[in-house]
């Protein structure tokens, strides 16, 4: 019976059916199914399939985003119900946001989706976020990586402010910093002391893996 449920969960993620995924995990909890098994046997299998469909060109980005959203919705119900020491296995934890003064959302959202689809736990703090809001989020969720996005040439320097604030908070040794956005260059990333930079959302995954020493 659980096997069918896990398959249905995977299917809900593959088809990007957020409400179905929520209903299925609610049903699973009611029936006393192990929440960690729901994650590993259902959701993770589903998102891996979504990733493969995207890689082979069958799926486009909106399908990837909807799959990741279905998985996230189900996780939000399952994670508070994990039993005892149970923890979801993730590649790493990432805090993502767009810098202060910048309302551009889409690039950061795409990076978040790609990371989610590749096994990272992503905490998206939104747009127009000050350096201290990044720091608070890093502390709160014990992040391995922080990713900041800026689309305007004038908000670029907010990246530097974020790094300075991370240093001031004594977190620099603990968290890797990735930056991105159309005007960002690898030279700029080096200059301000960021650890990683990627040209686009897809290559951001490889950079994130490399930063925390996860296998490619």
């Amino acid at each position: 019976m659980s096997k069918q449920l896990f398959e249905d969960l995977a299917r809900a993620v593959i088809e990007g059916e957020e409400e179905d995924a929520e209903a299925l995990v609610a049903q699973a909890l009611e029936q006393g199914v192990d929440p960690l098994a729901c994650i590993n046997e259902g959701l993770v299998k589903g998102i891996e399939e979504v990733g493969e469909l995207f890689s082979d060109g069958t799926y486009f980005l909106p399908e990837l985003i909807q799959g990741a959203a279905a998985m996230k919705a189900a996780l939000e119900i399952l994670e508070p119900n994990l039993i005892g020491e149970q923890r979801r296995e993730v590649v790493g934890k990432v805090v993502l946001g767009t810098v202060a003064g910048d309302q551009h959302e889409i690039g950061k959202t795409l990076v978040g989706t790609m990371l989610t689809a590749n096994g990272f736990e992503v905490v998206d703090i939104g747009v127009d976020k000050k350096a201290e809001e990044f720091v608070a989020a890093i502390e709160q969720c014990d992040a391995d990586i922080v990713g900041a996005s800026a689309l305007l040439t004038t908000t670029l320097l907010e990246h530097k402010r974020i790094i300075d604030s991370i240093v001031e908070a004594g977190l620099r040794e603990k968290v890797k910093v990735m930056i991105g956005g159309a005007p960002v260059t690898s030279e700029f990333a080096k200059e301000i002391g960021a650890d990683g930079y990627a040209d686009d959302a897809i290559s951001a995954v490889a950079v994130a893996r490399q930063l925390i020493g996860a296998p490619a």
């Binding site: 040439t153 320097l157 005007p183 030279e187 700029f188 200059e191 686009d200 897809i202």
Partner: protein, 469 residues
């Protein structure tokens, strides 16, 4: 008038877009991100909510605003002879805008664009004859962010006497830019020798400080290019029609505000939507993108506004076949659609990287494509029927005095010349511009004033930036 395309949209389709636009502006409204916009709009009868910086624009108000916007817009230059009039009679090219990288001419390496990259880019834009409007093509990323916009204007006013254009991002920058223009022209009265660009943030939002800056500039009669950049499927609906509609709503939201601020303020309608590449997640220009932009030209014409349309841009990272295809097809369409401005020369990598050779190549392409759509004179003199009769059958025209007489006027030289390596050719031309072209700088006294204004801006804007944090 050059040759033209059949309209992309019927008049009833345009009416439909217009009606839905008015409806959305009233029912969904716009987030202007600044109370200063709301204060003006409220005085014009708009419903506003200061808490969420939102306004609903009633139909009658938007219709009134559309009537205020002038059809003919003069884009002034420091040298009045180089001013440009957007009156629908011909297309004017602009350089690309705000890249952050440059292809180093000597080392061929990609570098973060700096002040020297920008100086070279502006110098080339001044030298090349098909460039009419000099957009600040790359950011001087070695200049501190707070001082950068003012510094861009200072460099541009120094190195070209053509019209200058770039975005002004904060209202505090405006007085310095006005003073720079006054110093550069040497005139007591402010003459707007620049125009600016206002990008909305799709969907249905404006940037607060940039909007406040444009409100100031509208009062000063500085032309504003209204430039939404929705990405179909990501920040606007996937179907081209939906992106066209949302794009138009965003243009009208800017138009209505700036006309409310200063009735008659000169505006240009940029037809600039693109797509999200659903595979790479990057900004992309597909064939559909060109189709959307052409349709928006018809919408702009419906409002009787000058229109700016993409042309010589490319996603390619070099001057290769992809560049040739993308730039030629879009630029040809822009000419045929009757754009007033064609955007944009000089940058590779989807408007990221300045290439001096591309500026030169683009300049040639612009000339070639313009000639393609140029009307052919059909009259008795040019039909040359008498000459054909005189030469008769089986002879040639090479020795005829009539051939010699019309050679300078009628003959179009072949470009690139037969047997030439076009990349070597543009490289040599670029080298020649670098070595020989002298910027038409204002007098030394004006340059000294401009330096003083820029350094004052640096100090004051740095202090303001510090206070803000």
């Amino acid at each position: 008038m050059p040759r033209s395309l059949m309209p992309a949209l019927t008049s009833s389709e345009i009416e439909h877009i217009h009606e839905r636009s008015l409806d959305l502006l009233e029912r969904v409204g716009i987030d202007y991100q600044t109370p200063r916009a709301l204060e003006v709009l409220e005085r014009h009868g708009c419903r506003v909510d200061y808490g969420r910086t939102w306004a609903s624009l009633p139909r009658k108000f938007v219709e009134w605003a559309i009537e205020q916007a002038p059809r003919v817009v003069r884009i002034e230059a420091r040298d009045p002879a180089r001013s440009v009039v957007l009156d629908g009679r011909c297309a004017h090219h602009t350089t690309d805008s705000q890249g952050t990288r440059a292809l180093d001419f000597e080392t061929r390496e990609r570098i973060a664009s700096n002040e020297e990259s920008l100086r070279r880019g502006i110098l080339f834009a001044d030298a090349l004859d098909k460039i009419d409007i000099v957009n600040v093509m790359v950011a001087a990323t070695d200049v501190p962010a707070h001082a950068r916009v003012v510094r861009h204007f200072q460099i541009a006013f120094e190195l070209t006497s053509k019209p200058v254009r770039t975005g002004v991002l904060q209202p505090e920058q405006v007085p310095f830019i006005v003073e720079l223009a006054r110093a550069a022209t040497g005139e007591d009265r402010f003459r707007p020798i620049f125009s600016t660009v206002h990008c909305s943030i799709s969907p249905l939002m404006h940037d607060g400080p940039a909007t406040e800056a444009c409100m100031e500039l509208a009062r000063l009669r500085v032309p504003i290019l209204l430039h939404p950049m929705p990405l179909a499927g990501a920040t606007s609906p996937l179907p081209p029609a939906g992106t066209i509609l949302q794009h138009n709503v965003e243009v009208l939201s800017g138009l209505a505000l700036f006309q409310a601020v200063a009735p008659g303020a000169p505006l240009v309608y940029a037809a600039g939507p693109a797509q999200l590449d659903m595979v790479s997640g990057n900004y992309a220009n597909s064939a559909d993108g060109n189709a959307m932009r052409l349709a928006l030209v018809d919408v702009a014409r419906f409002y009787n506004l000058p229109v700016n349309l993409g042309g010589l841009g490319t996603a390619s990272s070099s001057l290769d076949a992809q560049y040739g295809y993308e730039a030629s097809s879009a630029c040809l369409l822009a000419y045929l659609a009757g754009a007033d401005e064609i955007f944009s020369m000089g940058l590779l990598d989807s408007s990221q990287t300045l290439s001096l050779e591309k500026l030169v190549f683009d300049n040639h392409l612009a000339r070639e494509l313009e000639i393609m759509v140029r009307p052919i004179r059909i009259d008795e003199e040019h039909l040359s029927a008498e000459l054909i009769e005189r030469v008769g059958i089986g002879r040639h025209y090479l020795k005829r005095p009539e051939t010699l007489a019309s050679l300078r006027e009628e003959y179009v030289r072949v470009w690139p010349p037969a047997g030439s390596d076009v990349l070597a050719l543009v490289h040599d031309e670029a080298l020649e511009i670098l070595e020989r072209h002298r910027a038409p700088a204002p007098p030394e006294s004006a340059l000294a004033s401009m330096r003083e204004i820029a350094s004052q801006a640096d100090r004051e804007l740095a202090a303001a930036a510090k206070d803000a944090t």
